[in-house]
Amino acid sequence: MPKITYVNVDGDQTSVDVPAGTSVMRGAVFNDIDGIVAQCGGNMQCATCHVYVDESTLDKLDPPQEQEDEMLGFTACPRRPNSRLSCQLKSSDALDGLIVHTPERQN
């Protein structure tokens, strides 16, 4: 099963299995990992599931679609080139090994 690694602001890492088709946001919520709020439940309405994708694993992802790109304008911590909404990142074999950093705050 695809493994995703979450790194918090203190540098603590947690790797969990996230079933294919499940979002990187759900992977965190289900496994009780802090740092992702996901206020809108994955509907691309809130930007409180913001993550910074580790540069070393950025090439596993396709670029964001228009709505995700727009909502990235609402992140509580500054948007960077590697910013993504984790609810829009669907786990798959291609994402195995993805590393995401959770921001200091989400709202």
Binding site: D32, G41, M44
Partner: protein, 406 residues
């Protein structure tokens, strides 16, 4: 303004979107006292929007609705109590549950939400007649839908229309009956409403406006078989969803002597008349900072924003609640997003010439009150920014050729 010393303990009545958020935000803000979250539903706190969307379609199971897993509450020392609060004793600062147990509080937060209105007509209690508020309601509706051939939805609000869309996608015949002359009458402009009328009709849903229900008729096994309308016509139905709005759950507050004005009345810091009791989310009527008028909103943003605001105050910092409301709804492949709140507009400007992708700007005088975006997420995002920053355009500016929100 300082909020004073944090209370020793916080009891939250209702573990929905707002109640959960209050507890979670209290811990985020470093609150160390006891937190008790009392839930009348026998489930971990969950989100309701998927109940008419992914969950109803069978694309998500119940665990997918959970806001957090059970381990979260243990780790955060949030005491989740299952039970119904039947009484508040403001003098003793305690609440009593239906099983007789009592909980003392330093501060009490009422996050009791709302209950669906039912129809006051003969036959309203027949089997096959549903309302939708809880995961349990949705599960019952889903299994009913699996065997249904003809569905009647009473009320063309968001819940009714979202359900109608899912039922149509499941291949069922659907008729929506609405007393007013258009859908979503209390929620969106006539322009946006017209889009939803076209959308549902295009998908084969029958929409009847200006019609009300006189009775529901049952078969020999007390299962609904038809809906009788005021004009005497009869619509065959084996499933009826009543989506005619909700009533805020204010009984506890009223019985405790707290003022209720269309919702539990609170001030700009979400405090009721009793300084030790706050109310938030769907059950609370709060003053809008801009206009001063009292509002009661039914959306995730409002419940979450209120929960966060109360938690900040109890943890020691206090400011008036002043968040921009926003809302979304998905029907078929259309998303409508609303930013702001329309308290009665006198002019509107439509952006976009595509009948299936546009934004409507609602003005009162020169003031932009709300923006409705249909399949224009970029406009919605921009509108939220402009309304929050107070840099919104006037009607003249918005009507200028080439104007865009972005």
């Amino acid at each position: 303004m300082a909020g004073g010393a944090p209370p020793e303990s916080v009891v939250v009545v209702g573990a929905g979107q707002g109640g959960y958020q209050t507890a979670a935000s209290l811990r985020e803000h470093g609150y160390r006292g006891g937190i008790t979250l009392i839930s009348a539903e026998d489930a971990l706190p969950y989100e309701r929007p998927p109940l008419t969307k992914a969950y109803l379609k069978g694309e998500a199971d119940e665990a997918m609705l959970w806001l957090r897993p059970a381990t979260y509450y243990v780790r955060q020392s949030i005491d989740l109590v299952s039970g119904t609060v039947t009484e508040i004793d403001p003098a003793a600062r305690s609440v009593r549950l239906s099983d007789g147990s009592t909980y003392d509080y330093g501060h009490l937060v009422l996050a009791t939400g709302a209950t669906p209105r039912t129809l006051d007509v003969p036959g309203a209690e027949l089997r096959g007649v549903h309302t939708l508020r809880t995961a349990q309601d949705a599960a019952a509706l889903q299994s009913s839908l699996a065997g249904a051939r003809r569905v009647v939805v009473v009320g063309a609000g968001f819940i009714g229309l979202e359900f109608a869309a899912v039922a149509r996608e499941a291949g069922v015949r659907v008729t929506v009956v609405e007393t007013l002359d258009r859908p979503l009458a209390r929620a969106v402009s006539a322009y946006t409403a017209a889009h939803f009328t076209r959308l549902h009709r295009r998908h084969g849903t029958e929409l009847l406006f200006g019609q009300s229900v006189k009775s529901l008729q049952g078969d020999s096994r007390s299962h609904v078989k038809a809906v009788e309308l005021a004009d005497g016509s009869r619509l065959p139905a084996d499933l009826v969803l009543i989506g005619v709005g909700v009533t805020p759950r204010t009984e506890l507050a009223a019985a405790a002597g707290l003022p209720v004005h269309g919702g539990i009345a609170v001030d700009s810091r979400l405090r009721t008349a009793d300084p030790h009791i706050s109310a938030i989310g769907d059950c609370a009527a709060f003053p809008q900072v801009r206009s001063g008028s009292r509002l009661r909103l039914e959306c995730v943003q409002n419940a979450v924003g209120h929960g966060r605001s109360v938690a900040e105050r109890l943890a020691g910092t206090s400011r008036a609640y002043d968040e921009l409301p926003w809302f979304w709804s998905d029907q078929f492949s259309t998303t409508v997003q609303i930013a702001g709140f329309d308290e009665g507009h006198d002019s509107e400007v439509v952006l976009g010439t595509d009948p299936d992708a546009f934004s409507v700007l609602l003005f009162r005088g020169d003031d932009l009150q709300a923006v409705e975006s249909v399949n224009r997420p970029g406009d919605h995002a921009a509108a939220r920014r402009l309304l929050t920053q107070g840099t919104a355009p006037t009607p003249e500016e918005a009507s200028a050729p080439g104007f865009g929100l972005k």
